[in-house]
């Protein structure tokens, strides 16, 4: 039987809307939803059916029988696995209380379920990966606008100028956003790209600045300085909606283009030229405040400066600028119900200290890496059980060895994932979740200019003994006597309950696969933005009252980043459009296109070490040495070496990915707790590595 199913891609966390054609429980075609993406999908999206068919993903629940990480697994039934976990959880709760259990899930629209389960247990300790991703950007945005980083939509399509600091927007690709960028360029818009290397994004740039690693903040400050000096900012907007402009002007006094040029290793003339362009293009400019900006120890301030440039340009709530993300309420509607509303709000303090020791961080998912501290020290109280749902902390946070040592204090480690994760391999139980094509997901609200309800419909029945997340959580909840918080027996019941207050029904999704709250983009009156900024003053706080209260400066005096010692390089990492970090490395079709990563080295630096293109090189940090193929390029800063994140996996059952390429996070020795104290993001680009030509290169032909 043939059918067409509206669904949502799950190959990466962008979650593109898709349409899937199915015949006899097999996917015969899938494409981006024509109503939003006009069919477009990336390589990963098309490789979804290859993930479904891959036998190198867990096929049934597994329980560890050898030592942790030894890889001796026993295949068990779902009932057995869920009973086993429930028993262990009960023991932990009896001995240490429910707060000794933490859970983490993939960020995005589907956090509700895992968060609700954590709260139902009675634990406040819900987390996700964001301390290795967008926390700095999020907190910087809150300190300025009173709104998180998802509080604004970037209207790139209508912009005249897009400014990206290390935001490799065309590689870390979100198809809808990428098309906005290409449309902007087609219309003659300008792209300014700042990075330590040239990228797929930078090759499309009008202006390209290859800066010294760790100097983004310097360049952003200089832009503020020059724009203020030239009086090129939107004085009316600044006067009306911001506080602290004079202090900022005073603060940036010494940060001229000439100063930044020296600091960043670029030309002052080019900065002046950029400033002139920016002033002319105002207000249709988007300064991207960064996405994954857990990089340097001033990334919080760099992001704050970029967002401040948005405010100075007065590009808020204008076409081609930053638009407030609208919710159901902005359209006179109501959002869907959340499971979190059913479960009791936890009263215990968080074990990561967020909201308590660390007042500057928003509670939400807290900061995952700080839980390792709690595990290791049993302070403020012990963490004894951990459940990670489609989150692989070993692939995500620095120094997996240090993570393992902390985890050894836990009595229960559970991994729920569609594929084997490095974390799962070290776990006590692996529960295989059905892939996105084989599972239904909860209905979620996507805020935007036209807010909409989205959902993922199961396209095919599971091909292995796997389950969808709601069944898994419900199975655990039932065993723990928490049924009342998960009262729905089927996804249909759950969806109907979620939709009830919205006034929409499942039938409304049939036409396009989603439901919109508005026909046209909803814009606020730009002359009445008072109260829209959720800061204490109700304005954009260039000088933040909250930061002041917590004892942090709104603007940190710039400190020049350390130069790597001789023979060493700053290790930086990034994305390829072919892989979604570590999730896809073992996917047959994506692995075929990109089976391993390389180490980018500046050609002249490589020459000094006698390294030629294609040579194997050793990359050394502490007691970790990795071997990787060298890629020589003129277009990377000589202080940096670069690699694509996600490789160097060590799961024997993933034969394609096993030991292919190099893992950057394993080289980040001793960096697990090195975080930006104000933003909470980890400093993932603060590791220096030694590089040398490897002895594994063939010296002579010795064999026949």
């Amino acid at each position: 039987m043939k059918k067409s199913v509206w669904s949502m891609c799950g190959m990466c966390t962008v979650r593109c809307p898709i349409r899937v054609e199915v015949e006899d429980n097999t996917v015969t075609w899938l494409e981006g939803n024509q109503h939003i993406l006009k069919g477009a999908l990336c390589a990963k999206g098309s490789a979804g059916p290859a993930l479904v068919a891959d036998k190198e993903r867990p096929q049934q629940p597994l329980i560890r029988r050898g030592g942790r990480g030894a890889g001796r697994w026993e295949a068990v039934s779902w009932d057995f696995a869920l009973d086993y976990i429930a028993d262990k959880l009960k023991t932990i709760i009896d001995r240490h209380g429910p707060e000794a259990i933490m859970a983490s899930s993939r960020g995005g629209p589907f956090q509700d379920l895992v968060k609700a389960f954590t709260h139902a247990l009675g634990s406040p300790n819900y987390s996700n990966h964001d301390s290795a991703c967008g926390r700095n950007v999020h907190h910087a945005s809150i300190s300025l606008f009173g709104l998180g980083r998802k509080g604004f939509i970037y209207d790139i399509k209508n912009a005249k100028h897009l400014v990206l600091f290390g935001r490799n927007i065309l590689s870390s690709l979100r198809p809808a956003e990428v098309n906005q960028v290409m449309d902007m360029l087609d219309k003659g818009g300008k792209l300014t790209y700042v990075d330590v290397r040239q990228t797929l994004t930078g090759i499309k740039a009008t202006n390209f600045f290859q800066v010294r690693p760790g100097t983004d903040y310097a360049l952003a400050l200089a832009l503020i300085h020059e724009i203020i000096k030239a009086e090129g900012y939107d004085a009316d907007f600044v006067e009306r909606y911001t506080t602290g402009f004079d202090e900022l002007a005073y603060f940036v006094e010494n940060y001229s283009a000439e100063w930044a040029a020296k600091e960043c290793g670029i030309k002052a003339k080019d900065i002046h030229e950029l400033v002139a362009q920016l002033i002319a293009d105002r207000p249709k400019i988007v300064f991207h405040p960064g996405w994954m900006l857990s990089r340097y120890n001033d990334s919080f301030y760099a992001s704050r400066a970029l967002n401040c440039l948005n405010a100075l340009m007065g590009n808020i709530e204008v076409e081609g600028g930053l638009i407030f993300a609208k919710g159901a309420g902005d359209c006179g509607g109501k959002g869907p119900r959340s499971l979190t509303d059913l479960s009791p709000k936890p009263t215990a303090k968080r074990a990561d200290g967020v909201g308590d020791v660390y007042k500057q961080f928003e509670k939400g998912p807290g900061l995952f890496h700080l839980f390792y501290k709690a595990m290791a020290t049993a302070k403020p109280y012990p963490i004894k059980g951990i459940i990670c749902v489609r989150h692989d902390p070993f692939a995500c946070f620095p120094d997996p060895q240090a993570q393992k040592e902390a985890l050894d204090n836990c009595d229960l480690i559970v991994s729920i994932d569609t594929h084997y994760s490095e974390f799962g391999w070290y776990a006590d139980v692996i529960l295989p979740e059905s892939t996105y094509l084989e599972r239904d997901s909860m209905i979620a609200l996507q805020k935007g200019m036209k807010p909409r309800l989205v959902m993922r419909n199961k396209a095919i029945e599971p091909q292995a003994d796997t389950r969808d997340l709601y069944s898994i959580i419900k199975g655990l909840a039932t065993r723990l006597g928490l049924d009342e918080y998960f009262p729905h027996n089927t996804m249909q019941e759950l969806w109907a309950w979620q939709l009830e207050p919205t006034g929409f029904s499942l039938a409304d999704f049939e036409k396009k696969g989603f439901v919109e709250y508005a026909d046209k983009p909803v814009l606020y009156d730009r002359d009445k933005l008072e109260g829209k900024f959720k800061t204490p003053s109700g304005k954009i706080e260039i000088m933040s009252q909250k930061l002041d209260e917590w004892g942090f400066p709104s603007w940190k005096p710039y400190e020049s980043p350390a130069k790597p010692p001789k023979g060493q390089y700053r290790l930086v990492f990034g994305r390829s459009p072919i892989h979604a970090h570590s999730h896809t490395i073992n996917n047959p079709l994506l692995n075929e296109l990109m089976p391993q990563n390389t180490l980018w080295i500046n050609t002249r630096e490589a020459g000094k070490m006698g390294i030629a293109e294609g040579d194997l090189v050793d990359v050394i940090s502490g007691n970790v040495t990795s071997v990787i193929i060298a890629k020589l390029t003129d277009f990377i800063h000589p202080e940096a070496v670069y690699t694509v994140h996600g490789f160097g996996r060590q799961i024997p059952l993933q034969t394609r990915a096993y030991h292919a390429g190099m893992s950057d996070q394993k080289l980040m020795k001793g960096q697990l707790q090195n975080m930006d104290p104000v933003g909470g993001g980890l400093n993932l680009c603060e590791t220096f590595v030694a590089v040398r030509k490897s002895s594994k290169n063939h010296q002579r032909k010795r064999e026949l």
Binding site: W29, L30, E31, G32, K38, G39, A40, L41, C42, A43, K44, G45, S46, A47, P49, A50, L170, S171, L173, P175, V178, N179, M182, L185, D186, Q198, L200, G202, I203, K204, A205, T206, N207, F208, D270, P577, I578, P588, L589, L590, N591, E592, L593, T633, D634, F635
Partner: protein
């Protein structure tokens, strides 16, 4: 006379290699055969910006294709609209076609032990659709162009 060609707007192409996988997924190909390719030259600095452009290549669908002439079973055919394709039922997997092609374009499918190549997704074309690589191109950079005699 060839009716179609695939045109890549390299201003819009971002080198994501989506087309390669769209093609493989549509044809249900295993690891091995790749029917279209995205390539680029090394970066060169143009007015301070290191640049390169992407090229797309599938099959040229030659006017007078060697692969068709050499095929011992007549499985390699050229349609009236110019599309060169493999009639799978007739193919014995000898891969003489790949040897005859100056670019080695026909590929061996290890699952079926037959030759496989770009046929502009003619089943989709005949159904009024576009080739997989065009329909799903991430940035809508690929277009199927109908050629006209000038």
């Amino acid at each position: 006379m060839n009716t179609y060609t695939l045109y890549l707007n390299n201003k819009r192409c971002i080198g994501c290699h989506g087309c390669v996988v769209h093609c493989k997924a549509n044809k249900g190909l295993p690891v091995g055969p790749i029917l279209c390719e995205i390539s680029h030259e090394r970066l060169k600095s143009v007015r301070g910006v290191p640049k390169t452009e992407f090229k797309f290549r599938s099959c040229y669908h030659c006017e007078d294709p060697f692969c068709v002439t050499i095929c011992p079973t007549g499985a390699m055919k050229k349609r009236e609209d110019g599309i060169v394709y493999v009639e799978a039922a007739e193919c014995i997997g000898c891969m003489a076609c790949a040897g005859a092609c100056p670019w080695g374009i026909p590929q061996h499918n290890p699952d079926t032990n037959k030759a496989v190549k770009c046929d502009y997704c003619m089943d989709r074309l005949d159904a009024g659709l576009q080739p997989a690589c065009v329909t799903k191109c991430t940035t809508h950079a690929l277009k199927l162009v109908t050629m006209k005699e000038i």
